[in-house]
């Protein structure tokens, strides 16, 4: 018989409930504010459902009616500089934070101040998709953001906002504050990787993040007990070393008291917390009908939960303490309902073309359709005033350096001059500069800002996104291999790349993603892609692809100075190469959107980037064709250098787009499309392309070589073009 010793998780897990003494001792102002907030939120959401019924809400209307106690109880434990974010069901969380920001306490005699009315109006406008909204109508119900108030943005990807909240918490901690972040999500999101990865990461780094689980028992129609082993979701906290509180979410005071404890724990620098509040939404996932109408639960169950309504609870307790009478209770509700009717009247009117009684959005409240693509990215003006250099005209000293040393060198220089730069990724802190030496010497010089992460690309990429949105730090996230972008795809494409546009076009997202490109290293099908074409599908991302050490310095500096997310592609073939690089000067940029002509030619324009620049030059020498080789350097749609490309095409009339990777994920497709539309009359043959095979490269050396393009394939491509010359 083995000896069995029971083990205890290191972190505690407790349940918190209130006693009559707690209610008797509660500050009357706290209770009044609690009630006022909940009444405002409920009146607000009732109006939203009414408008949804009238067909005036485009898209889903995820109401939280019934759940108000969780959000309000927890927000009242926070201060104005604390942050919150949430999920698709986030009206109540957003409103609680926004209301608390403009009115930390509420007066039940005069509930709705002018400032508060404006918050309600801008929130409703956003949900209806109108110009006055917090996100100018872009985000709607599921993307409510008011950074000033610490409302960091609600999220339509279940669990998608959690890594971003972790980034916010990182920034709060490392800026030396005691501020905390609360990320709200539900029972459904408790099962998704982003959340669990973030629990692990924040626990490892002691970040002040509260994982606030609004367990309303149903993920759409699926009961929590159906999809997890222990439906008491706070049980997960101790598994990650995070203390957890379980509380009845229909008791706002209990939520408040539990949250106070959690916040105290975080402000003390002890790391993250989990608070699970069991709540109930009276309506279905979406829209104005109860869940029972869809058959996944009973009317009796709903009635039983309504008996425990958080608003009624606070009203009862306040009346019992003599703080309110029945008349005053009714007056609070009336003030909230009247305020919402007034707010609605600002943007909704009788429909002159509809049946009597039908209403419509006031025509002038809509955004201008011309606004559709405004603010996808910044205008690049943040680079104005920075010194741009080109190798040919560089007046400083140039010496021969290894590419990889320049990678570490320029980062060292920037971290020296800019204390906001933070590097994070797998093994970046060990192995003498990560797997390739790209962060060599940095951990010793900047121990607090070189962060070796757990193997959680989605969490640490999102954490970087949260840091960038906060703005106090500039994250440099490293992907050890390019194919890992798929693991982190939600954070890179749904969150970071869309964060500026989706919330109205004004968020700055100073985020740098370094991605290795490792074609030819024998790592096989899941490590060998050229990701440029995939990144190029996201309009919010800028992409740079340095082919020389000199350019690496300037492009990395530009990437760090830009307030857009920038992907910096680094090819391992180049790491070992040497080339002229500045001896001392690591402080210049390469001009935004400027390609480099590496070889002048008359007969053919080769458009290429990264390691294929050298392969193309080699192929041109071998064939003797008078080709012009353009190193694109800036690859994204907004930054690509059409002036240089156009000038070359008008001269040569023949184009060969050269890249290394497989055709499916290739970069050249969109470029060729754009070329034939911009320069059709200047082409003497179809845009020709060099790229890899169809499948991802295999491990076998022979098959791997056959799967991607190098000099030989460029030679063949040039010969194809030459056949097209005729003559």
């Amino acid at each position: 018989m083995p000896q069995v010793t029971p083990l205890q998780a290191q972190a505690p897990w407790v349940e918190v409930s209130t006693t009559p003494e707690d209610w008797a001792a509660a500050d009357p102002t706290l209770l009044a504010t609690m009630l006022g907030q909940m009444q405002l939120i409920r009146a607000f959401e009732e109006l939203v459902l009414q408008l949804a019924r009238e067909g005036l809400v485009h898209g889903p209307a995820h109401s939280s009616i019934g759940q108000e106690g969780g959000a309000v109880g927890s927000v009242l434990a926070l201060g104005p500089s604390d942050g919150v974010n949430g999920t698709h069901r986030g009206h109540h969380q957003f409103l609680a934070k926004a209301i608390a920001y403009v009115a930390p306490t509420l007066d039940l005699q005069a509930l709705v101040t002018e400032e508060l009315r404006e918050v309600l109006r801008k929130t409703l406008a956003e949900i209806l998709g109108l110009a006055e909204g917090f996100g100018k109508g872009r985000g709607g119900s599921m993307h409510l953001q008011w950074m000033e108030a610490g409302a960091l943005g609600t999220n339509a990807i279940v669990g998608g906002g959690v890594p971003l909240a972790a980034g916010n918490a990182w920034a709060q901690k490392h800026a030396g504050t005691q501020d905390v972040t609360v990320t709200y999500f539900g029972d459904g999101a408790s099962n998704i990787g982003s959340v669990l990865e973030s629990m692990n990461l924040t626990a490892a780094w002691d970040l002040p993040l509260c994982f606030f689980i609004e367990n309303n028992l149903y993920a759409v129609s699926t009961h929590v007990a159906e999809v997890t082993g222990d439906h008491r979701l706070s049980a997960r906290g101790p598994g990650f070393g995070i203390p957890a509180w379980r509380v009845d979410g229909m008791d706002p005071l209990a939520v408040y008291l539990a949250s106070q404890e959690a916040v105290g724990h975080m402000r003390a620098g002890k790391g993250p917390t989990v608070v699970e509040a069991e709540v109930y939404r009276y309506f279905h996932q979406n829209g104005p009908f109860p869940g029972s109408a869809f058959g996944y639960r009973s009317k009796e169950e709903e009635a039983a939960w309504r008996e425990r309504d958080p608003i009624s609870r606070v009203e009862r307790e306040m009346v019992a303490r003599g703080l309110l009478d029945e008349e005053a209770v009714a007056a609070v509700r009336k003030q909230a309902v009247d305020a919402m009717a007034e707010v609605a009247a600002a943007m909704i009117e009788a429909d002159p073309e509809g049946k009597p009684g039908t209403r419509r959005i006031k025509p002038d409240a809509w955004p201008d359709p011309a606004f559709v693509d405004v603010g996808v990215r910044g205008d690049g003006s943040e680079l104005e005033g920075l010194r741009a250099e080109e190798q040919e005209t560089f007046s400083g000293e140039l010496v021969e350096k290894r590419f990889i040393d320049v990678v570490a060198g320029v980062m060292h220089r920037r971290m020296e001059t800019d204390p906001s730069v933070v590097v994070l990724g797998e093994d970046v802190h060990r192995l003498a500069g990560g797997t390739n030496g790209a962060t060599k010497g940095l951990k010793d010089a900047f121990p607090e800002r070189i962060l070796g992460t757990p193997i959680s690309e989605n969490a640490f990429a999102g954490l970087g996104g949260g840091m960038a949105l906060d703005g106090r730090f500039k994250p440099v996230v490293e992907f050890m291999y390019p194919d890992f972008l798929w693991v982190a795809a939600d954070q890179i494409f749904n969150q970071v790349a869309k964060a500026r546009h989706m919330f109205g076009g004004e968020n700055k997202v100073p985020f740098v993603l370094r991605s290795k490109v490792a074609t030819g290293t024998g790592y096989g099908s899941q490590h060998s892609m050229d990701p440029a074409g995939i990144y190029a599908t996201a309009p919010g991302l800028r992409i740079v692809a340095p082919a020389t050490p000199f350019d690496y310095v300037g492009l990395m500096n530009a990437a760090l100075a830009l307030e857009d997310p920038v992907v910096v592609l680094e090819h391992v073939d180049l790491y070992a190469s040497t080339g002229p690089a500045p001896a001392e000067d690591y402080d210049y940029i390469i001009e935004l959107g400027k390609a480099a002509v590496r070889r002048q030619g008359e007969d053919l324009t080769i458009l290429t980037y990264l390691s294929m620049v050298a392969h193309s030059l080699e192929a041109v020498e071998q064939t003797g064709v008078d080709a012009e080789v353009v190193d694109l350097r800036w690859l994204d749609r907004a930054s690509v250098d059409w002036d240089t490309i156009g000038e070359s095409i008008r001269k040569t009339n023949n184009v060969l787009v050269v890249e290394q990777g497989a055709i499916g994920t290739s970069y050249g497709g969109w470029l060729s499309d754009e070329i034939q539309r911009r320069f059709f009359d200047w082409l003497d043959q179809p845009v020709q392309r060099v790229h890899g095979g169809e499948a991802s490269p295999s491990i076998s050396k022979v098959l791997e070589r056959a799967a991607h393009a190098r000099t030989e394939e460029v030679v063949a491509g040039i010969q194809r073009v030459v056949e097209g010359f005729g003559g």
Partner: protein
């Protein structure tokens, strides 16, 4: 009578023209036409000519609107035997197209076969199958260059994949062909839309004639080695002879230019070595003297109708011929053959008071004479200064065919003829 329905096609209105503009429709849709009736006016590079009905019937439909540039042989109108006939235009046109495309027996597979061939990812696209379709395959830049040079792509031989006409084919054609042009006849619109600062300008579309003038004269000035000789003959005797002739009211009035033309003919008779034209094959020597006369037309055009056999005509006949040609040139009613040939050209701006000018050669001609105004001038006779009437004439010559001394001898013969009109008229 017409067949039940006949497609009328653009006739080949002039040699070497592959396209022309339907300047206007004379016969309206629905009108009855007889053989020889004018259906439309057609503007080519050089002239406006009439398109006549070859069959009687009802002109049922204009297939192209007035102002359209149409390829020779393209359908332009539908003629019915009577207004009552119904017709299926698409079927009529399709029938013709089908006939035109009928493959020779035993040749090409069904046209669908090429389309069905599956293309693997990354595979090179198929080039156009030769002869499978009637359209011409040319790369965009080749079409653009050909259009700018005024060369129909149909005239080019494609050397690219599948016989595609590519840039190099156009360039080779332009380098080799006798009628290439270095100057775009229709420059591409500027890439930037910004208007230049300064005076406002309106863009007037180029007529075929304007294009032809631009192309031919640019080509001439750039490619033909011009040189110029100036002479200033006295014309007192010529003016006296003219006055004498014009004194008879029953006769048609003669112009100074009519005498000049006769003098030109006389000079060529005296110096036949100058009556030549350059060609790559050799120097062409003419036996007669056909003089083209530059005529300004309404709307800023320039035509050069030819007076044939000036050396054999009397001055009166020359005058009548010039008057007729000039009048019809101004009306755009010249026949194509009246615009062709010519061994030399006379351009006279004397009537505008122009004292002296030099003219651009009209290829392949080797000479052109620019004639200024006859004005009173100081002349020296036997060492004494007196007032005479002189007329400055500038001969432009193509040095490839005519050397300086030869041109000088010709000009001396011309001066001799002008100053002694009776000799010239003999």
């Amino acid at each position: 009578m017409a067949d039940v329905a006949t497609i009328i096609r653009l006739p080949e209105v002039m040699a070497n023209a592959t396209e022309a503009v339907i300047a206007s429709w004379v016969a309206a849709e629905g009108s009855e036409v007889s053989v020889g009736d004018v259906l439309a006016e057609i503007e080519t590079e050089k002239a406006v000519v009439e398109m006549n009905a070859e069959e009687a019937g009802v002109l049922a439909k204009h297939l192209v609107p007035a102002g359209s540039l149409v390829q020779v042989g393209a359908p332009v109108a539908l003629l019915l035997s009577s207004a009552d006939e119904s017709y299926e235009l698409a079927a009529l046109l399709g029938e013709e197209a089908a006939q035109a495309q009928e493959p020779p027996a035993g040749s090409a597979p069904q046209p669908t076969a090429a389309v069905e061939a599956p293309a693997a990812a990354g595979e090179q696209a198929e080039g156009p199958a030769e002869g499978a379709r009637s359209r011409v395959f040319a790369s965009p830049i080749a079409r653009k260059l050909a259009r700018e040079a005024g060369v129909p792509v149909e005239r080019l031989q494609g050397s690219g994949p599948g016989g595609r006409i590519v840039r190099r084919d156009v360039e080779r054609y332009l380098a080799e062909a006798p009628a290439p042009s270095a100057t775009p006849s229709r420059p591409a619109p500027p890439v930037t839309a910004a208007a230049p600062a300064g005076a406002q300008a309106e863009l007037e579309p180029l007529s075929p004639m304007r294009r032809a003038i631009a192309r031919r004269l640019t080509e001439s000035k750039q490619q033909v080695p011009h040189f110029y000789l100036v002479a200033e003959p006295r014309v007192d005797a010529l003016l006296a002879a003219r006055a004498q002739a014009n004194a008879d009211p029953s006769r048609r009035k003669l112009s100074v230019n009519d005498f000049v033309l006769k003098a030109v003919a006389a000079a060529f008779r005296a110096v036949p070595e100058a009556n030549v034209a350059w060609s790559e094959e050799g120097i062409r020597r003419f036996s007669g003297v056909d003089v083209a006369v530059a005529v300004a037309t309404e709307g800023g055009g320039l035509l050069t109708p030819v007076v044939r056999g000036v050396d054999r005509l009397s001055v009166t006949e020359v005058g009548a011929a010039v008057a007729d040609l000039a009048a019809r040139a101004r009306e755009g009613r010249l026949r194509q053959d009246e615009l062709e040939g010519g061994t030399t050209t006379v351009s006279n701006l004397g009537m505008f008071g122009t004292r002296e000018f030099s003219a651009i050669l009209n290829p392949p001609q080797a000479t052109i004479l620019a004639v200024g105004a006859a004005v009173p001038s100081p002349v020296v006779v036997d060492g004494r200064l007196e007032v005479g009437t002189t007329m400055r004439c500038t001969l432009s010559a193509d040095h490839r065919a005519v050397d300086g001394a030869l041109a000088a001898r010709w000009l001396a013969a011309f001066v001799e003829a002008v100053e002694n009109p009776v000799v010239a008229l003999l």
